[in-house]
Symmetry: C2
Subunit: 401 residues, 2 copies
């Protein structure tokens, strides 16, 4: 009986370990693999044979793993290059040595490219004893085919609830206030857009629409004049028509490019203060916390992530299943429900799914009802959190053991 | 039968409305006042007679109010000056007009000074029909007499859990990483210190200890050399021996004081990068979210805050009760428990309770076990959160109705 291997790659999310937990649990329910190995720090650690045995993980640990944010197996940014044959050979040798039939890779765009490249290499070289399966994850929600990406909904929920709560804070004084919330999203505006679930966003700046300073500042002015307050959400990836990021342009204009400026939020603040459309502006950059704040996971997100892991494992019983990624398709109908499918990893690798143009209101006015209808079901429900000493219980990362 | 008035002042917290809910509920259990008025935007709104009637608040609204962050009545930074007699006269006239016997003021240092000043003015002018009672709140935890301040524990819990979660994120890559978490606390280091509840803080910079750049950078170097990672927590109030704030000094040194630099976190990052003790450093400033993230309230905090409101109301049945603030005293013994007491507002007004020197480890190494023993009971328990559409349900602020 052969073994399997699970590894994680790219930026972590607050539910990435739920997918790992799903694979481990599926093999306990139907042990089609003798040993479930965890590969530490993605491809990087696998090449160095840094593996741990997860086969007999207790239900208690599995439960806590699901609420532990960030990659418990560690991550890497290492990308397998198709022309670096030495890496491919080395990897196959490791898989041979540990008799690993299936390698599950949990990650985003780049990771799906790795899954695709490895299965392609195996096919070309008539390697039949190693198969490669992808499981999606990314807070950015920018993967093709899948209706949405594990990790996105929990980040969206954290962003929307932080927006609503900071909005309550910003409003307590009678004085004029502009508040700017900066979210992640270098290329796609899904995270910034999700702040609109809070129902309080006045102006939204997405990377999908070229930033027009004049139009934007006029909207800020209008808003401040109308109600003495303006709540703005900006994606870190916001950029001008020529592609320059807001923050980068600010640095250049002010002649101190060496300074640590912060991101798009600070840039928007500076534009507002310099143009004098408002006298006060405050920035909150949600930074790292938005992708790892698992204490407020979406129940839908954590359960779907777990089931994607289960689905990947179960499908891999089919000896022809390789070069595929498991994914979510939303069912038609009033009540939210999904189907779990598989798609070629090549359909996902190296594409970016942008926030749809048709869902964006003009003049930075936020997102349309169709977008809210898409987003709302994803953030529903809250898992029962297991605590230890007043803080959520977490599994100690396997790369630290 | 006379009436009472409740108002809120200063920076909001995530449990400040629980105290308001406690006062309203106490009057429903024992209606010693005919009407419970809410004064909007503190003293500022009371002087303008902006009052709402909260007497018959439903249990449902009361329950949701307890989980609604930030001052639902609005706040102000307006300080009654003792020599501004016009304000005192105007205020007494409003209290006369609405037959308000007792005014409850929920706030920090300045608010307790207001309570003291008003009761002093009443005594001097033989005004017997108006009394003034303070209820403490402040995320800074820097009020005297009371063992701790409502609002602090929930902020501490948010900070400690964010620290632990971002630490998990920071560790996933094998590369060198320095992470800097900035917390509030202009004068007192309680919030920054509370991050140590996470058990993962390597270095802690408090405002209570003058910052020594050389010693600090040597510690960062040691830490990075030992484990390739360094997790730093810094209070916004961190300052040099001469009193200069870290952020301010940085702005001056680099000759671009006009730039928006961010705070102490960015300053620490710049020091580290310039000195080359590490190659990479990332900052997360918890900013506004830390004082209003009610989705992860401490149960101890929200319940104590509610009870302080109840206690203030109940004690005010005594016609001689004025110029006092209700407070918490911790009982001796192994099991955490508290007594509710009252103290003269003048014992609290205009003092700052610093994080004790004896609890600080040398060389930025964090806090001692006695400090952890003090902090840990405060963050215990999580209230059942009521949700609406996937986000926590909140009461619409009364100043918006």
């Amino acid at each position: 009986m052969a073994n399997c291997l699970v590894a994680q790659s790219g930026g972590p999310t607050s539910v990435i370990n739920a997918t790992l937990a799903g694979i481990v649990k599926a093999n306990q329910l139907n042990p089609i693999y003798h040993t479930v190995y965890g590969g530490l720090n993605g491809i990087e650690g696998i090449l160095e044979e840094r593996l741990v045995d997860l086969t007999r993980m207790s239900e208690d640990e599995n439960r806590i793993l699901r609420q532990t944010p960030s990659s418990a197996l560690g991550s890497c940014r290492y990308k397998l290059k198709r022309d670096n044959l030495a890496d491919f050979e080395k990897l196959m040798a490791v898989l041979d040595k540990y008799d690993i039939e299936t390698m599950f890779y949990i990650g985003g765009n780049d990771s799906m490219d790795t899954v695709d490249a490895l299965s392609e290499y195996a096919a070309k070289n008539k390697i039949k004893n190693h198969r490669f399966v992808g499981c999606p994850k990314t807070v950015d929600n920018d993967l093709e085919v899948t209706d949405h990406c594990p990790g996105f909904a929990s980040a969206a929920k954290f962003i929307a609830s932080t927006a609503r709560q900071t909005w309550l804070d910003v409003n307590v004084y009678t004085r004029e206030e502009v508040f700017i919330l900066e979210t992640m999203g270098r290329d796609a505006g899904w995270l910034a857009a999700s702040a609109c679930l809070s129902g309080i966003v006045d102006l939204l700046i997405l990377p999908e629409k070229p930033f027009d300073k004049g139009v934007f500042l006029a909207e800020v002015k209008k808003c401040v004049e109308a109600k003495n307050k303006c709540y703005i959400v900006v994606s870190e990836g916001a950029r001008y028509e020529d592609g320059t990021y807001l923050a980068a342009a600010e640095a250049k204009n002010d002649g101190f490019a060496h300074a640590v400026l912060g991101g798009a939020g600070s840039a928007v603040k500076n534009l507002i203060l310099e143009s004098k459309v408002a006298k006060r502006a405050k920035v909150q950059d949600l930074s790292t916390a938005q992708r790892c704040f698992a204490l407020t996971q979406s129940l839908v997100d954590v359960e779907e992530s777990f089931k994607l892991g289960m689905s990947a494992h179960m499908r891999s019983a089919d000896k022809s299943f390789t070069g595929e990624m498991v994914a979510i398709v939303r069912k038609e109908g009033e009540v939210y429900d999904v189907n779990y499918i598989a798609t070629k990893a090549s359909n996902v690798a190296n594409f970016v799914k942008h926030f749809p143009d048709k869902w964006i209101k003009p003049n930075y006015a936020g997102i349309k009802d169709e977008a809210i209808a898409y987003l709302k079901p994803l953030i529903q429900g809250a898992p029962v959190v297991l605590y230890k000493d007043g803080l959520p219980a977490f599994v100690k990362p396997y790369y630290m053991k």
